[in-house]
């Protein structure tokens, strides 16, 4: 692969990666948010794949395949399944099922509205570029020049985590944060060592399983997955 083609493809993948995070802020349907998260996982796998092809490292290509399977396949599947249980449990319930149905699968009232969220995303991206300046200066290659994208997604993930009220939207926020960190690792240093990468992926998978189960318990206990209703414990 020629150098310029590599750079273009890498920038394309990074652009898609960032765009997916921004569009997550724009959409309110949880199903659409999960689909975007899966797309972002694909972009992340593409970044790893491109780096692997560029450096002729087979282990990176295998890692890319694993990341694609986990982040574009398994994790979205798990969240979608959690979403489906929430919806079917509701639908079996009362006659007002239609109403609660739309409540549970939509982010009806995020703490910050869509326009302000998108502006914040722009501001966070600028902030990421400002913060990442020393990182890029240390070793300016095509990959590290795209590094601020990873940090921007980390910040956007945090923003989603803080401003979204549905439990599953928060899970996606956490996963965006994690995608951003993985992308940063790839762009900065072609990924962390394999044993660490495996451990991290395993931890993320378990964290999502735990959060999925807790979501069900939150709904059992509070009758909703709106995290803002969790106000029993305070000082």
């Amino acid at each position: 692969m020629s150098e310029s083609l590599f750079t273009q493809l890498l920038d394309l993948a990074c652009g898609a990666f960032l765009l997916a995070a921004v569009v997550v802020l724009w959409r309110r349907e949880l199903a659409a948010i999960v689909r975007l998260f899966a797309l972002q996982g694909l972009a992340l796998a593409a970044i790893a794949l491109l780096l692997g092809l560029h450096e002729d490292r087979w282990d990176l290509i295998v890692v890319a395949a694993g990341i694609g399977a986990l982040r574009a396949g398994l994790l979205p599947y798990l969240i979608r399944r959690a979403l489906a249980t929430l919806v079917t449990d509701r639908a079996q319930g009362q006659d007002q099922a239609a109403y609660t149905h739309s409540e549970e699968v939509r982010e009806t009232q995020p703490l910050v509205n869509v326009a302000a969220s998108l502006l914040t995303a722009a501001a966070l991206t600028l902030l990421a570029y400002a913060v990442a300046r020393p990182l890029v200066e240390l070793d300016p290659t095509p990959a590290t020049r795209a590094l601020p994208v990873g940090l921007a997604v980390v910040l956007i993930g945090f923003f989603v985590l803080v401003t979204r009220r549905r439990a599953l939207a928060q899970v996606v926020g956490f996963l965006l944060l994690d995608n951003g960190i993985t992308a940063t690792a790839f762009l900065a240093a072609s990924g962390v060592p394999l044993i660490v990468e495996l451990g991290v992926s395993f931890d993320v998978l378990l964290a999502v399983l735990v959060l999925q189960l807790l979501t069900v318990r939150v709904r059992e206990a509070f009758g909703t997955t709106d995290i803002d209703d969790l106000r029993e414990l305070h000082d």
Binding site: F174, I181, V196
Partner: protein, 574 residues
Amino acid sequence: MLHLSQEPALTALLLTAPVAAPLVVAAGYTLTGLAAQRRPRPVSAARREETRRPQPVVKAAAVSRGTARAMTGADDKGEGDDSVPGKPVAAVRARGRHPADWVGLTSPVVILACASLLAADVDDGSVAAYSGLLRADALTVWMLLVIGAVALIACASAPSYLSGERDADRATGRTVMGVPPIERSREWGSYHALVQVFLGAMCLAVVTANLGVLWVAIEATTIVTAFLVGHRRTRMSVEAAWKYVVICSAGIALAFLGTVLVYYAARQAGIAEAWALDWPTLLAHADRLDPAVTRLGITLVVLGYGAKAGLVPLHAWLPDAHSQAPAPVSALMSGVLLSVAFAALLRYRVIADAALGVDFTRVLLAGIALLTLALAAGLLLAQSDYKRMLAYSSMEHMSLIALAAAIGSPLALAAALLHIAGHGLAKATAFCVSGQILHLRGTTKIGRVRGLLARSPWLGALFGLAIVALLGFPPFSLFASELGIARAGFAAGSGLGWTTAAALLLVLVAFAALATRATRMLLGPARKGDAAVAESPSALWPLVLGLLACAALGITTGPLGDLLTQAATVLERP
């Protein structure tokens, strides 16, 4: 002295065993649990069997309660169907009825044994196995000893806690949040497995030299304890579990980003991929790390592991999780999990000091320590729940350790490590006692627990002594360590002197808050109608042992003194 380092296989075994033993025990619990579920029987028979199994304990408890209450003349509602008169023998045997509860003691014993054997090996450096993946130096051994000791207290007091909890499940009604008691008893089966995996993850976090694996282990502790925090399935405990997982995972994700940036800096400094996250290698080449990148990475690491150690700004999970978790788990979380996360911070601090000079981490840690201390002291003043009170006291002590790390002189570091041990022992005891108080009084409100000393002298005395230890009175080791931190602070120069003075003022506020609340719980006459409840001092021996160890450490560090000095040397700038 016995030197084992000549035998690499033995070293590998000693390094692996603290991690492997808890995991093996956990696997044992899981397998026996599965075997009990999978017995090929018709469902109805299986159900009957499972309801029958917890029965002896319940009967026994009901009988013992019945007799206790009959003596006091208190009413005994809602237990009539369970209490079978004429079988008092069962009451005597009640505690022995769950031998599985005691198997969990194996792993703390193994951890302690391995740590003491390793102690002989590390007096002149370190030992490593699996090409440097596992590594022990004096700090590792010290942390392993603390983990083992606190785990011993927590696991040994688990049987009496669990039998109390099983009684409470029956006494408070057939279902808790729609979960029938059969399901609940199965859930208690997974309790042991989760606690053991938790122990294994913490041991891995201290014995690994790879900063990436360290991160994986600390994140694993979050995942494993999530269910333990939310085990009660009430609104409060589910909320605590959710906040715990989300805040800790997000916080610790920051630490991973920091780790990635340090890795990037290390790769750019010319360290090979396999060694770029290896702590000794990083330390040796720290002067070659790019300062700007390292500064960003270290800041993120301090925020991230600080979240797990209960430091500002991501501390919000701590009081909720500590107050909702079962008492032995609270003891483990407060006593060692916080300090394991802090030990990770201490390791990064050395790298940062070598790469950036001491001022950077000093300002960062001192600022965080003061903020955490102010917050903890303020919230202690307004506290009406004794488990949350203990949780905020943990934050207070962690911020003192952070202050000691900011000072960074040999005296301060040794005092910080001693403080980790003393706080672990005292806080574990306090949390285990608070679990018993909860069973006894059925409330966590300070105002409704009065006359504890008059009504249950053993429990009251233990709680009082644990609080006295936490307040920093001699002979307990927290006195010595707090004194050491203060002395080191005033000796370190005017800036840190003022910080230490401010910190001491805040500690005084926390002291007053804790002392008044504890006296309110302990003193006062027993209410009319509550005579002394039948106590079982035999169940309290682990707690007595914990306090004795804490006091012994305060009087003389004995053979541990050398280890403490060596561990502090590990943390000094090379």
